[in-house]
């Protein structure tokens, strides 16, 4: 017997009330629990309520271990980001940044960019965070682990930029290399996020 929409919503509500806050994490858990409950209803010939209570009671610990997110969950995100550097569009943007830097480095735009790179990082970081919060928390009233996690890479880049730039501010060659490096890291990050968002809106359920 297949569960109806109300029964699925009941499972969703149960998970939400047990602090499984992310929609994308919940989606996979709902399917897992629903399939287990359906099987129980069929094998033991019991109704939804009894099957659900029985299933949750005997699998509670395992079910909620699916919701465990630790710092280790951010490692795949970082790995994916660095793997994205090998994509042709990333390599192309790195080449363009490097060429344009050496061509236009004396122009006023690049002088500003070099001096206030941290500020631009912060600006983009805050814009992305605030915009995604407004859209997902405010408009859709839903939280996605996938979206919130993608901020981690950018925050790491931002803090790295703050930490590394300061000691080399006065050394032209090192600060030039760092500027190019961080511009490339940032450009690839933008491409990476666009790619991930495209994937996200296509599937609406991405959990890693």
């Amino acid at each position: 017997m297949k569960l109806n929409q109300n029964q699925i919503q009941f499972i969703d509500g149960y998970l939400q009330s047990n602090d499984v806050i992310y929609v994308d994490v919940r989606a996979e858990m709902i399917d897992h629990i629903a399939t287990g409950v359906e099987e129980k209803m069929k094998v033991e010939d019991i109704d939804f309520h009894d099957a659900f209570v029985s299933y949750v009671n005997s699998n509670r610990k395992e079910i909620f271990s699916m919701n465990k997110k630790t710092w280790q969950s951010t490692l795949p995100e970082l790995k994916n980001y660095f793997r994205f550097f090998l994509k042709p569009k990333s390599l192309l943007s790195i080449a363009l940044i490097t060429i344009s830097f050496f061509t236009f480095q004396e122009t006023i735009v690049y002088t500003f960019l070099k001096e206030d790179l941290s500020f631009y990082f912060l600006l983009i970081f805050l814009s992305y965070s605030v915009l995604s919060m407004i859209y997902f928390w405010g408009i859709k009233k839903e939280r996605y682990y996938f979206i919130e996690r993608s901020n981690i890479v950018l925050s790491i880049l931002y803090w790295l930029n703050l930490l590394i730039f300061k000691p080399f501010e006065k050394q032209k060659y090192i600060s030039d290399i760092l500027t190019i490096g961080f511009m490339c890291l940032f450009a690839v990050y933008v491409l990476y996020v666009i790619n991930q968002l495209k994937k996200f809106f296509k599937t609406k359920m991405i959990t890693n």
Partner: protein, 110 residues
């Protein structure tokens, strides 16, 4: 998972082997298939399975297909091209491991 320490290192290989044989599978189906094949001797827990699936997906070994099935979303996992090649390697490693264990545990049969 029964006697989890012994099986722990082979979980991803088990998952990849099942996907190689069955094309694409969802999480619950994998747990039930393992239970069925091993006649209930080996039970893969959700807490071990899903992180392993997500890790393999992040590594590009697996890809996902999401479908709306019976009023809910279902995430199917399947091997990528890289994953198919990787499965062959991992199975060869596992077989080698089993052979070595056999030599140690029961040298007469090895």
């Amino acid at each position: 998972m029964k006697n989890s320490q012994l099986y722990k290192g082979s979980l991803t290989t088990i998952v990849m082997k099942l996907l190689e044989e069955n094309g694409r599978m969802y999480g619950y189906e994998i747990t039930q298939k393992v239970k069925e094949i091993t006649k209930g001797e080996l039970k893969i827990t959700e807490g071990a399975l899903y992180p392993a699936l997500h890790k393999l997906e992040a590594e590009g070994v697996l890809e996902v297909e999401i479908e709306n099935v019976d009023n809910r979303l279902r995430k199917y996992y399947k091997l990528t091209e890289k994953g198919t090649a990787e499965t062959v390697n991992r199975l060869a490693e596992l077989e080698e491991f089993i052979k070595n264990m056999q030599s140690i545990v029961n040298p007469k049969l090895a």
